[in-house]
Symmetry: C2
Subunit: 357 residues, 2 copies
């Protein structure tokens, strides 16, 4: 594995996006969002996805020069048509609008339709933090997850993220796919040739499976909770909420109609909406109580949870988002290790477009 500085990867990505017709400023934003995933250790959602986005553009499913616009608005809400742009950039724009609304009236809520995948959810909701706001982001995604007692892929891994500002400590960032395990974890097991735990996937007939390749056999991911006894109806319910907030409020596609991320899969006919959908929220913490009281108590929350009795063999309890922010601090210094396949993929993309690696 070779290791690259974030800056170097960002520059390369920017050149690629610009080559594909993106404005310089948008290309910077999109590159930042992808590299932020690698910095935070979510390698599956980082630069590894670049060629996927490019293939979507080549097949005419992404507009690199979107003229996104506000199509609906109230005092605290906005709906955006993303004009088939990349969620990577549109997510940032939408979150900024949510923040603007929150400045004016305490909270702001933005639904987005006609978009594409937006990278890691945290990268958008965390924009709220420097404004002393809680940031919320979610998106629907291509169907891979079967509802409880179903064998049909009906929902994406539909992540939701809550970014909660603190003062003495790093922000709390709860960023979770509503499936038991995200696809990235299956890919790791595939590369290592290892079985996966029971409860992550099922076969196409609804049987238990530990095969990391089960999705290729028409199997499906299971919702958070894995089975009915352990609350899979809750993971299914949360995935449904993300789908509905992201797509039914905005006018995007939902359920099995969400367009696939991979360009070789066709878009289903009779689609009820436009593109994929996201949903964002921003809440000023001082819309609820004086700001100093808020920060004093959120810091005390973090201190108390850090001090919770750990399970034998563990040093201490983790605050949500802590591993990712520690990884970011580390990788900003040491650089980002790239998997050999990802590296090769990026190099060949560079060669194709005449962009130096």
């Amino acid at each position: 594995m070779n290791i690259y500085k974030a800056e170097k990867l960002r520059e390369f990505l920017q050149d690629v996006f610009v080559h594909c017709g993106m404005q310089q400023a948008d290309a910077m934003t999109a590159s930042n969002v992808l590299v932020a995933a690698d910095l935070r250790g979510i390698d599956s959602h980082g630069v590894a996805r670049l060629s996927g986005y490019i293939r979507l553009w080549e097949s005419g499913r992404v507009n690199m020069k979107p003229k996104w616009k506000v199509v609906y608005e109230t005092t605290s809400t906005v709906t955006i048509d993303a004009d088939q742009g990349l969620g990577l950039t549109l997510g940032q724009e939408a979150m900024k609008l949510a923040i603007k609304k929150a400045k004016d009236c305490g909270t702001g809520w933005v639904a987005v339709k006609n978009s594409n995948h937006f990278g890691i959810a945290a990268c958008h909701s965390m924009l709220a933090l420097e404004h002393d706001m809680i940031g919320i982001s979610m998106t629907n995604a291509s169907p891979l997850v079967a509802p409880t007692h179903s064998i049909e892929r009906m929902l994406g891994t539909n992540p939701m993220c809550f970014a909660i500002p603190a003062k003495k400590y790093n922000a709390i960032v709860v960023d979770l796919a509503t499936a038991a395990a995200a696809n990235g974890k299956l890919e790791i097991a595939q590369r290592e040739g290892k079985p996966i735990p029971h409860g992550w996937v099922q076969t196409k007939d609804g049987q238990p499976s530990t095969n990391p390749h089960e999705l290729k056999n028409e199997g499906s991911l299971l919702p958070l909770g894995s089975d009915r006894d352990h609350g899979s109806h809750k993971g299914y319910g949360l995935g449904a909420v993300v789908d509905i907030f992201s797509a039914i409020l905005s006018g995007a596609n939902y359920g099995p109609w969400v367009p696939p991320f991979v360009s070789f899969l066709p878009v289903l006919p009779d689609s009820p909406g436009a593109g994929i959908g996201h949903f964002f929220g921003a809440m000023r913490v001082d819309a609820f109580r004086p700001i100093a009281d808020y920060y004093e108590n959120i810091d005390r929350w973090i201190e108390r949870f850090k001090a919770a009795k750990p399970e034998p063999g563990f040093e201490r309890v983790i605050i949500p988002g802590e591993p990712e922010s520690e990884m970011e601090t580390e990788r900003l210094v040491t650089g980002i290790p790239l998997n050999e396949l990802v590296e090769k993929d990026l190099i060949s993309l560079g060669e194709k477009f005449g962009i130096a690696w």
Copy 2:
């Protein structure tokens, strides 16, 4: 098991609440909320809890005549001090305020401090439905759940509920405790003398257990996801979000300081806030798109999910909230079966207060 009409139970509860000093209107509200839980089949949160509330009042921890007031406000937000009142009534008041805000500016958000347990979350968020709004409700609760890799009870079962209006069909109601299994399920296993599945509780040393009495041995409930491999950090993260939204925004107690529901357990010293906390939201669906478009698509969502391929042996896929609304329809006609212990408890409460059963 004897069976009672909802109306008869409501009247009895009302008399008890009035006997304890509640205003007639509040007593009606509190009784409605408790009986609604039984109607929806959530027997653990219904009339079975009456004597628990009364014991809290007897030990001076509940104010039956609260003078709740708005202590903080912006265009889209409100913070309420519940004056130690019952969450059963205050939850309804708070939700009404959220609805009022949403009428004015698209969405409304209400944080509540200094409250007590509010019954089933669905009963509050569902108030939004008749206003063509999505309703959101959550509350923190007495600590029973250990974070991932911890052996200390730090969070309540902290439920969150999303009520989503539909036109041709019943509303979608996603109402979930953020623990793998709520305490009520342990109580059923206790009554039946049966072991519980792995992944619901752990011993006080963090060992796996199938003992439904494990909480009495200082064990703890596990977060939704059960263990790290199956995403317990996600359940822990969601429970943390509920705790922070409900208590850090409002000024209530959080984490291990949340006052216990049972009156025989002491309140911890150095508590950082007042009472327990709730959080409510209301979003006008026509704050995001024309109302007819919304309803057309949410109905289509429900139809498509009802038609998803079921697992062999199952008739069809369940829409979140469907079993509860079917139960309600049934029990409104056939009545509510009361467990013998619950019945005895209510009868003796009636005798004590001179209220006819």
